[in-house]
Subunit: 375 residues, 2 copies
């Protein structure tokens, strides 16, 4: 029975590849490496499994997995390609992936990145937000080898954007990071692909899901501690909750946005940072009875010296686009020179939306590789 299902799946898959060929879509092997296989990495693998037929049919993508590096399930490379389903099954049942058919073991991420052949590296290791490591080093190493890098880690974009994007350009690779702010909701791609000829002058956003979930909960009369515990249960809070509550996560996301979205010669800097820790239930409830909501708001504006970022709690009208996002939802408002003001809202995101960001970046890179192959 297992053999039958596996064969059937393979036939179905081959069929999609043929359909893609018939439709004139160039079917291309995309060699991928995974560094990190935590919640985000595993959600991404599930998404790839679910979308396998569609990716083949619509984009002509055939994945070949050449490396998987995990913290607790071993690390392997493969020249011929790993069985992703078998690897996922082993990881989800707590076993090691070492010894998988066609694989050889590696010591660590650095060795895997050095030895694997890949078009795209997915970096999803846990992050030190203050220096962006080890993600930045992994990405740097991959780009040096001409391997495009995709990450949902905001650290490398906040701390190393210019250096890494320049390196990517020099090596004919891409550095993509849609998942670093507002998960897979288009933010960087929106600015890059949908606002040609327009300049972004300033932005405002509610970018931290944990703070927003807490503030929404406090409006319903629950305590900050109680709401934080809920965020932790949902798996959206940072390991150190101070990182959410004191505005660090918001500030680093704003820094990443300012680096990429604003044409500044100077360095983007955080002028002010405050969090929600000292807000009382009474303040939140009073604002509400007056038609307002308290939100942890990031603001950035271009100045001659660079971009100035400030983060802090603000009272905003409940019927405004900033005041309307509730729970884990996020919003980013962009003010432009010729397209006026637009806002993008992400409703109730979870880990699957972060995984989607990686898929979206992967397809962008694949499209670029297909175009290059045609030149």
């Amino acid at each position: 029975m297992f053999w039958y299902v596996a064969t059937w799946a393979r036939v179905l898959y081959a069929d999609h590849i043929d359909l893609a060929r018939l439709a004139g879509i160039q079917v291309m092997e995309l060699r991928v490496a995974f560094i990190g296989m935590g919640n985000v990495g595993r959600a991404f693998v599930r998404l790839l499994q679910g979308k396998r037929a569609e990716l083949a049919k619509q984009y002509g993508i055939r994945l070949v997995v050449t490396a998987i590096v995990t913290a607790r399930h071993g690390s392997v490379v493969s020249a011929t390609g790993l069985d992703l389903d078998a690897a996922a099954e082993r990881i989800s049942s707590g076993r090691s992936i070492e010894g998988l058919s066609g694989s050889g073991p590696v010591r660590d991420a650095a060795e895997a990145i050095e030895r694997c052949t890949a078009d795209v590296l997915f970096e999803t290791t846990p992050l030190n937000p203050f220096d962006g490591e080890p993600a930045t080093s992994h990405i740097h190493q991959a780009l040096l080898r001409g391997i495009s890098a995709v990450t949902a880690n905001k650290g490398p974009v906040a701390h190393g954007y210019r250096r890494l994007s320049q390196l990517a350009a020099n090596r004919g690779a891409m550095f993509r990071f849609e998942g670093t702010v507002m998960d897979g909701c288009p933010v960087f791609n929106l600015a890059e692909y949908c606002l040609p000829g327009a300049r972004i002058l300033s932005f405002t956003g509610v970018l931290n899901s944990t703070s927003n979930l807490i503030l929404t909960g406090m409006e319903d009369g629950r305590s900050m501690q109680e709401c934080l515990a809920e965020a932790q249960r949902l798996g959206i809070a940072e390991a150190d909750p101070g990182y959410d509550l004191d505005g660090w996560d918001t500030a680093i996301k704003a820094l990443a946005l300012a680096n990429v979205l604003m044409e500044v010669d100077g360095q983007a800097g955080i002028a002010e940072r405050a969090g929600i820790r000292d807000l009382t239930l009474e303040e939140v409830r009073t604002a509400m009875t007056q038609g307002h909501a308290i939100k942890l708001v990031a603001r950035a504006e271009v100045s001659p010296a660079g971009a100035n970022i400030s983060v802090g709690p603000e009272r905003v009208p409940r019927s405004s686009v900033l005041g309307g996002v509730r729970g884990t939802s996020n919003v980013l408002v962009l003010k432009t020179d010729v397209m006026g003001e637009i806002a993008i809202v992400e409703n109730d995101p979870g880990i699957d939306q972060t995984a989607y960001a990686l898929l979206s970046d992967m397809i962008t890179i694949h499209d670029a590789l297909v175009r290059r192959a045609k030149l």
Copy 2:
């Protein structure tokens, strides 16, 4: 003095072209034709004038205007290129453009489209919303000749999307229409460029600025007539206000969205359409005191037979993303298979945002032409 300024401007312009060359940007002539020179057309020309240096420097675009067709200022074609500034000056001072240096007169749009050499045609004539003419015919004629077409007219997208986009593909041209829904706020581009690998399952939107301005005004205690007069003063109301008030504009925009955004084999159809005409001040004010807003909402969902669209007034929470758009603002909420729910909001749009849509589409087409030239 005039000579000095003109020469200086030319030097500055040439300088930008050189800068573009130095930066490795391919400088390309883009031959453009304008059919219609009403409010939208003129706002677009102003935008092109304001962005001339940036377009040259950043995108390597050098515009050559080969035809301008107007209803009241004459119509001309030119093989060598028209002086756009001189044409704009004549139109704004109420004179005819016929006799402009290097131009010859033409009878009508059909003759101009037949005779001009152009890469892109901008179609901004007044529209019959029920059959999409004459815009659809102009676009059809241009595409037949392999000329890409850009329009802010929703009729051709609601009524002829499949036929026109198929024709464009067959002739190696593009059919772009970002300005048909929510002006230049990315809607079609958002779906095309920023949601790769995701499917749109349904959408909800507040899409008609006039109705929304009226409903917001009624919340402040003003009558429907008074608010409609304001919309007319602002130049945003349709010539026949029933078209806004009875939900036709919203329905046709929803039809355009459904045609393009949803993968349906069948035809998108309007199952229900109601407007705001019969709403009373009391209903609007009562909803408000209960924390709600009445909005003219479009909803579309994929069904096995196609996409079903319904348009009608709805009570929504004021602190929701649909309830939060006020005045002329619009919002579109997209529900997807793997990226959850996102919304895009356009704040207080005007005619300049419609003009931006044409610019955005023009740059998209130019990029495609540059890529093709490299193949």
